[in-house]
Symmetry: C2
Subunit: 97 residues, 2 copies
């Protein structure tokens, strides 16, 4: 018998490096959120999310595969962005469906 | 003494509803990932991520505030998108820094 193959949900988040400016997040923060009266929000960073369904024999294999494809296919620009890869277990807390 | 106020990191994910098509995710899947030889990836959905720093007296208060601002400020279009709000505890697994 071979290994058991499962579907894993893997999220990829691409955003500007922490020390780089993020004009999109700054604009959402200043012109939308603060103007709307939500001063409790002290910062906003904007990014791109890719949610992938991956067939793999383990969580680690799924994560490793996605990290590799992000690097190999240049899903992000390593000089400008950081890329975070995480395996998620289901989804929760949607405010609309 | 008043309540202790902490900083919470709250992520907002806005994406097309599950039953709606997602041309951006489909294109990334077909023209980049499958062409690149990563057939283990069986689907991709693309979305927007906003990471907010919120001052609040509890995790639930932080989450409730962000849900309210997403609705009040029309951060998403309820007829086309779903909006997921989650409080995160730190960040992990970056592939570049």
């Amino acid at each position: 018998m071979g290994p058991v193959i499962n579907d894993y949900t893997v999220e990829v988040v691409v955003e500007n490096k922490p020390l780089a400016r993020d004009p999109e997040g700054e604009t959402i923060h200043r012109s939308l959120i603060l103007k709307g009266g939500f001063e409790q929000v002290t910062g906003v960073r904007a990014g791109k999310l890719l949610r992938m369904t991956v067939r793999a024999s383990s969580k680690d294999e799924a994560k490793g595969l996605v990290k590799k494809l992000c690097d190999d296919l240049r899903i992000y620009n390593p000089s400008a962005h950081e890329c975070q890869v995480r395996v998620v277990e289901g989804r929760e807390n949607r405010t609309s469906e």
